[in-house]
Every structure is written in C-alpha cells, then in structure tokens.
C-alpha cells in the first residue's frame, strides 16, 4: 500500500518535471528569433569570413578564410605557420580535403555526411531539414550560464548535443563525436562573442576542444553577400583525379572486382514465407558496407529489423556493426566496434549504454542469429573457389560470442528456380550456433559473390534472392481412375 501511495505521489511530480522542460523545437526556433529572425537569414546568400586560429599552448598559429554560399557550398583554407595550407570543400555532391601534410583526399561516409551538414547555408533556420529528431534533455551550466541541453539527431552522422542559454537564447556550446579521417573524436565547441553580421548574430569566437588539444578560431571580418571569386567551389584537379580513379569501382565498370549492389531476400520456413530482407552493399573508400532492414513473422511474434549494418575493410576484417531491432515492444539497439582483437558492444538501455567486450578474431565474419541472413554475403565473398578442401572461418555472433564455421566449395551446379535454371557455385557449410549442435547450411552464389539461394534443411529454411523464385513443389498426381473409385464402376 505504501509503495502504491509513493508511486501515486511521484506521478504528478514526474509529469511536472517533464513539463518544466521547454520543447527542443521551441528552443531552436527561439534561437532563430534572438539571432535575427528568419527574414534576416533569408537575405543572406553568401558569406566570406576571415580570421585567426591558434592551437592553445602549442605555439601554433595561423589564418583561416571561409567561403560559403547557398544552398550548400563551402570552401575553407587554413594557413598554419610551420605547416602550410589545409583546404576543405563541399559542394553538396563531393566533400574533400587537401593539405600540405597529407595531400588530397575525398571524404566518404560519415565524414562526407558531416561535411554536407556543415556546408548548409543559413543552417540555423534549416534545423528541421538537418535533424530528424530533437529533444530537450535537461539543464546544464556552460561557463557559469544556465543552459538548456538539447539532443539532436542529424539525418546521418553522429548525435549532437546543443546548449542554449536560458537567459539569452544563444547557443553557447555544442558537443558531438566528430568523424575524421583518423577516426571518431569526441569534440566540444564553445561559442562566444556573438556579433551582428548582416542582421544576424553569429559567434565570432569558437573554442574547440578535442583529443587533448584546444583550438581557438576568431573571426575578425565577415562580409555578407560578397561576390565569391569564380571557381572558388570548383573541385581541385587532384580531387578530380582521385574521383576519376575511384569511379570504375563505384560504377562496376572495367570489371571492378567488388561492384557495389544489393538485393532482397525472402525467407521461407516449411514452404511458407516467413521474412523478407532488403540490403545494399557499398564498396567505397577502402571499406565494404552492408546495410539492410527487414521484417519477420515468427508465429505470433513480429520482428522488425530496422537497421543492420556491417562495415569491413577490404580484407573483410570487421570495423563496425550496428543493429536495431524491434520485437513487440522490445527494442534492441547495439553498436559494435572491432579493434585489437576485441568487439566492443554498446547496447542502449534506459540506464545508459551497457558495454560488453568479447574477444574476437580480427578476420571474424559478423553474423546475427536467427536473422538477418544477408550478412552471410560476407562469408560468401570470402570462400575460396580454388580448393575443395574444407575452409575454416571464425564467426562472431553479434553481441554474443565467437563460433567456428566450416565451409567447403562443392563446385558449379545448375540450380532450378520457378522461372529459370542458372549455373551457380555451391558451398556447403556448418556453423555451430548452439554449442554441440552444428547447423548444416547450403548456399549457392553467383559470379558477383552474392547469395542467390540458401537452405538449412534441419530447420526447414530456404532463402531466395529476388528474381530467383522457388520452384513450386511437384503437384500430387491424381491417381488413375481405375484405382480411385473402383466401386463407382
């Protein structure tokens, strides 16, 4: 009884506390108002900023110039004493970097998404385009000033935490895990010294902290709607050369060894359709990425695979994986990174991220059990057709443990489907998902190393690639009339 009363007493308080937090949408819209309003932003079409930058305490200083133009073009050049120039650019299609230290490179994946987001002109009034979800998470003090803390999820890339002054409505801090060429780095940016530029208030000083370093950028001169020098946002020759070099692999031209692609798998159990999975495969920037989603109906239970992603290097060594499933009301979200023989699984939970580390071979194939099936394409790609001896692999059941897998290339076979007969490579495998109970699997793959058909006879499972429908079971022949109803005669 006492517990019930306590629960009842606490309910209004909890609701009250929840009500005390203003909506994130309101805070972000308020920021637009206090910095000048939508109309003021919309009068700006291009900007040039000139300023200084300094690595605090390291004696490294330089100059910075930013060029930005609507809707999504950006170019910046930093000239550091003792180092030379470092340029970055983004035109909504390509994000790139060129530095005296490391030469030219084209950004991809998270880095590209991040660069595109940063290049959006008049970003504050476009926050609804940039973020898929915003949520007020509470209050926090930034440099002695009370702030609202907002969690913002961009369309792609890492979550950002934004801090807005309760008093002025101005953004004072932003923290996020920044994607860089060298890996993800937690970073904090402190914004201050707001100044009016063409009717819009903007921070003139940004103090960034990352990887144990502190960098201060101070904007000294801002020109609104200037004439941007012709060709300012054009791709440098070296970047164009890199894009040309990478183009064949992306388009599959010139018999690129690893063409990008994808597919759709339908999974049958006892001949009845049980699940479908759609997936894509991207070979880019020295990485292979399989991304997919799907749904399954297992008796009364429904399972949504909202996201399953595996990233490997070109040797198929796992780099990261991500899983998000929903079964009934239970949501499972897990991110895994692989390094130094360890899998670090971070599972979301109401109490915060739960970490589990497993020892994993660097070349392990990442699997999930029972679904999705499409990640087995990684294994399909790794099997050698040069031998018919059994081949041993390590597999890592995501978030669980490493298990052994044996596969043997049987040879090319003609496989009949509902509408065609195709010659495919047959591989027979065995995987010990449950200790002491090896699961026998047969798979057939095409010349693109993509699984076309898979079967696990002991579980009455068959899987078919879209376009390769299962052959209908042979119809039961009606018995000869003489045998069916002799009495009727």
């Amino acid at each position: 009884m006492r517990n019930l009363i306590l629960v009842c007493l606490s309910l209004p308080l909890a609701v009250g506390a929840q009500d005390a937090l203003p909506k994130a949408e309101t805070i972000l819209d308020h920021y637009i108002e206090v910095t000048g309003g939508v109309a003021a932003y919309q009068k700006r079409h291009s900007v040039i900023e000139k300023g200084t930058m300094e690595m605090v305490g390291r004696g490294v200083k330089g100059s910075i110039t930013n060029y930005m133009a609507a809707p999504d073009k950006a170019y910046s050049v930093i000239d550091l004493e003792g180092v030379g120039q470092m340029e970055e650019g983004s035109d909504g299609k390509v994000a790139w970097e060129r530095s005296a230290l490391q030469g030219p490179r084209v950004k991809d994946e998270k880095e590209r998404a991040q660069a595109f987001e940063e290049a959006i002109f008049n970003a504050p009034i476009k926050w609804r385009e940039i973020y898929t979800r915003v949520e007020t998470k509470g209050s926090e003090t930034v440099n002695g000033e009370d702030c609202w803390k907002i969690l913002a999820m961009p369309k792609s890339g890492n979550a950002e935490t934004l801090f807005f002054s309760k008093k002025t409505g101005l953004e004072l801090k932003r923290s996020a895990v920044q994607a860089t060429q060298m890996g993800d780095i937690p970073a904090e940016a402190f914004l201050s010294d707001y100044r009016e530029n063409g009717g819009v208030l903007e921070p003139a000083t940004v103090r960034q902290k990352f990887a144990g370093q502190e960098m201060v950028i101070h904007v000294e001169e801002t020109t609104i709607n200037p004439e941007i020098p012709p060709g300012r946002f054009d791709l440098p020759d070296e970047i164009q050369q890199l894009l040309k070099k990478a183009a064949p692999a992306k388009t599959g031209a010139n018999a690129a060894p690893v063409p990008s692609g994808g597919g759709k798998l339908t999974i049958y159990m006892d001949g009845a359709r049980m699940a479908t999975e759609t997936y894509s495969f991207l070979a880019s920037g020295g990485r292979y990425t399989w991304t997919g989603s799907g749904e399954a109906h297992m008796g009364p239970m429904e399972m949504q695979i909202e996201l399953y992603k595996v990233v490997t290097d070109e040797k198929y060594h796992p780099i990261e994986a991500e899983l998000k499933t929903k079964m009934g009301q239970i949501t499972r979200e897990m991110k895994t990174t692989f390094a130094d023989g360890k899998a670090r699984n971070e599972t979301a939970s109401p109490k915060g991220p739960q970490i589990k580390e497993d020892t994993v071979s660097p070349d392990a194939v990442i699997m999930a059990f029972p679904l999705p099936v499409f990640p087995l394409n990684v294994l399909a790609r790794r099997i050698s057709f040069d031998t018919q001896d059994p081949q041993e692999f390590h597999a890592y059941l995501l978030g669980q443990r490493e298990i052994p897998v044996t596969a043997k290339y049987i040879g090319k076979e003609k496989v009949e489907f509902a509408n065609k007969t195709v010659e495919l490579r047959h591989v027979a495998g065995s995987v010990e998902v449950q200790e002491g109970q090896p699961l026998e699997v047969n798979l057939w793959e095409d010349d693109n190393r993509q699984i076309v058909k898979l079967e696990a006879p002991s579980h009455h499972i068959e899987v078919y690639q879209e376009g390769y429908e299962p052959k209908p079971p042979p119809q039961t022949q009606p018995p000869p009339p003489s045998q069916t109803a002799p009495e009727a005669k």
Binding site: G57, R58, G59, G82, M182, D184, I185, P186, A339
Partner: protein
C-alpha cells in the same frame, strides 16, 4: 640560430646549466611550472592510472624539493625526476636557453656546419658522410676517418661519458651522434680545427671553415627553430633516392618529396633514407606513405589517447609508386621516422635495411611552462599496424646491415648497398618472368 633537432633537444636537456641563484618571482614561476607539468600528466596521460604510479605521491614527494630549489638547474632536475618516473621517451624539459642563441652550457654557438655527419662506432666518432662542396670535402676529409678532437674538445671522454649514461638506453646512438655533432658547430665563417685519424691510423689535422647551415629555417610551435633539408637523386640502376633530416616544414618538404616520387614513376625501385632523422610532425608520415600505398583504408598504426583513438590512415595519391620500396634506418632514426618505417614494414609495403631504430616513438606535444622552459610530453600511446608499440622496441630491419669503419673507408654504405642489391634482384627476377 642554433640548428636544433628533436634529438638535439634531448641532449640539451642532459647538459647541466650554470648555477645562478633564483629570485623569489623566478621561484614562484618554477613552482607554477611544477604544478603545470604534474597536472598535465594527471589529466592528459593516455592511461588514467598512469601506469600504476601513485601520481599524487610523486607530487607530495617532489613538491617540497621544488619549493627548495635555488637554481634553475635544481628546478629542472626536480621536473626531470618527475618525468623520469614514467620511464618513457618524449617526456622532457627543454631549457629556455634552447630557444635562444646559447647552448645550455652558456657557450655561444652558431649554426655553422662543417658538412660532416658522424656516428659512434666502437667508441670512436667516425665520419659517415661528407657533404659535397662543404669545407670538409674541400679539405679532403673522407668517410671512415675517426674524429679525435674538435677544437679543444677531446671526443673520447665525451663519448665515454655519454656511453655510460645511456648504456642501457635505445637512445644511445642518438645521444652519441648529437654529442659529437654539437662540438662541430660554430658561427658561419669561423673555422674549427679538427683532428682526424685516417684509415691507416695517421693523424690528419684540418681547419674546417663553418658554412651556413644546410636547408631552410623552419619554425613549428614551441619547437626551437630548425633547418630542414631534403635531397633527392636518381641512383645507378634507375633507382630513386630521397633523404631528409626532419619531418618538419611540410610546405617546403612535401612538394619536394612529391616531385621526387612523381619523377620516378618508371624507376625500378625507390629508397628513402631516414638514417639520422629524429622525427617531427607525425602526420607527415601518412602524407608520405600515401605515395606508396595504393589501397584505401590502410593504416600505419593507431594512436591511443585517453578518450579516443586515432588511426594513421593512408589515403592513396593519384600517382602512387607501386615498385619496390626500401627504407634505410639506424639507431638515430626516431619517432616519426619509426612510425613511417614501422608502419610500411607492417603493411609489407617496404623492406627495411640498416640497424634497429631508436625505439622512441610516442606522439608528443610541446608547451611553454610559466618559467619559460619548454615541456614536451607524450599525449598518446602508439601501436604500429603490426600490433606492437614502437616505443621501447623500435623497428627491426628486415635486412641487418651494421655500419663499420672498414666499409666506410672502402667507400661502401652497407644499408644502401643492400637495398640496391635487393631492388636489382627483383628487377632481374621480373625480367626473367617477362613482366615489366
């Protein structure tokens, strides 16, 4: 301005300063410097447990000593004691003098050079290279000659002292070389009398005019200004060759390096000589490696900070050189040189010739202390792509080619010769197989 390298700084840190009583304000600055150094290690050392050291106890033990320090030498000794507890390279106090035109023994020395490079081989300072056109070359000095005396300084006791101090250290080679080189310096235009012993054991006394330092003066952060040079040439057998003294001044060095590689696309091999190169800006290792690695996503290694890890990722250039690559190293190749050579060895992209490197490879930063001294500290651990640290282990060559005085006197360079032989053998093998 004194020509300073990272390794020279290490030497400067080991030479005692002339004692001078401190004022109360200088004492206060030293106390603030003590707190700065201690706090930096506490907050930024990559392992929050600081390798199991009781860091607070180190503070409590040494703070009273700093409070009592009456001279700069005593104050620096306390700081060096604190950093010494970590037993790692790249934790150093750089005396303020190193930023001025004085050596730490308060003897004015210029940047002038004799054109000689040296190594200590078997307790003897031996000339390993004579710069063409230098006064040493003009005076007929030859590789393989022993340097007995430089000016008034007899080298045998200097060498013996450094050998004793670094007898168990992988930095022994670095320190010995620097101990000799620093005594061959002076103001440009001045002369220095050097006593040599040639291959036959004859005493050869030469008065060498000190030339302007080689290279371009470069300043990066709180590193004392350094002269940076790069040389490239095409060796016999159509082999490209590049050597440079520091991984610094990328705006000047990287285009020259790029030109050397681009002009050698049809070469039968390429040699990068990192002997005597103590390192510099780590990121330059990635930029240089990108001329030789054609696969995206490859890494030289990984840097482990307290809150994140960063990979030394190689982004292939538009015109990668894909032929045989040899890297020459010795016990004076350190830091970024080791990151570069070790990573490319681990990736099986380069074959390493020479002797084991200095095993001093931790990414570091240099900050200015309140008392004006520089403070170098490693901010991360570094693991090469092969899974092992370079700190303490170094890079072991694929082909060991110890340097000998006999070889030098015979005009040979064992590491370079072995690398050329390897490239030649690969070329012959390819021709036999009919591949270009």
């Amino acid at each position: 301005m004194i020509r300073k390298s990272l390794a020279l700084l290490l030497l400067a840190g080991c030479v005692a300063a002339a004692p001078a009583a401190l004022t109360s304000s200088e004492k206060k600055l030293n106390q603030e410097s003590f707190d700065y150094v201690w706090t930096t290690i506490r907050d930024k050392y990559w392992d929050p447990a600081i390798g199991g050291l009781n860091w607070q106890a180190v503070h409590d033990e040494l703070k009273p000593q700093m409070d009592k320090a009456e001279t700069m030498a005593e104050a620096r000794a306390v700081l060096e004691d604190m950093l010494g507890r970590l037993h790692l390279t790249h934790f150093e106090i750089i005396p303020e003098d190193a930023y001025s035109d004085l050596e730490s023994d308060n003897t004015p020395r210029g940047d002038g050079e004799t054109g000689l490079d040296v190594r200590v081989i078997g307790h003897q300072a031996v000339v390993t290279r004579v710069e063409p056109e230098s006064s040493a070359a003009r005076e007929g000095v030859r590789p393989g000659w022993e340097i007995v005396r430089a000016g008034k300084s007899q080298l045998a006791p200097v060498i013996a002292k450094v050998e004793r101090a670094y007898q168990d250290s992988s930095l022994r080679g670095v320190m010995l070389r620097n101990a000799v080189l620093v005594r061959l310096k002076g103001y440009p235009g001045d002369s220095i009398e050097i006593e040599f012993r040639d291959g036959a054991g004859r005493q050869m006394i030469r008065k060498l005019r000190l030339d302007d330092p080689r290279g371009v003066l470069s300043k990066f952060g709180f590193l004392p200004a350094s002269y940076v040079w790069i040389e490239s040439q095409k060796l016999a057998g159509n082999v490209g060759y590049v050597a440079f003294n520091l991984f610094l001044d990328p705006a000047h060095l990287m285009p020259r390096f790029a030109e050397a590689v681009k002009s050698c696309q049809a070469c039968s091999g390429f040699i990068i000589d990192l002997r005597g190169n103590p390192g510099g800006i780590g990121a330059m290792a990635m930029g240089m490696a990108s001329w030789f690695v054609d696969r995206s996503g490859e890494r030289l290694g990984t840097l482990y900070l307290r809150d994140s890890k960063l990979s030394f990722v190689i982004t292939p250039r538009p015109g990668v050189f894909s032929g045989p690559l040899a890297i020459l190293v010795d016990d004076t190749s350190a830091s970024t040189s080791e990151i570069f050579a070790g990573g490319l060895k681990d990736l099986k992209r380069a074959r390493i010739f020479g002797t084991r490197t200095a095993a001093a490879a931790l990414p570091s930063a240099i900050e200015m202390l309140p008392n004006g001294d520089g403070f170098q500290y490693a901010m991360a651990n570094y693991i090469s792509e092969g899974g092992k640290p370079l700190e303490g282990l170094g890079v072991t060559p694929d082909v060991e080619t110890p340097l000998s005085r006999t070889a030098l006197l015979a005009g040979k360079d064992p590491a370079l010769d072995a690398a050329l032989e390897w490239i030649k053998a690969l070329e012959e093998h390819a021709q036999q197989k009919g591949t270009p």
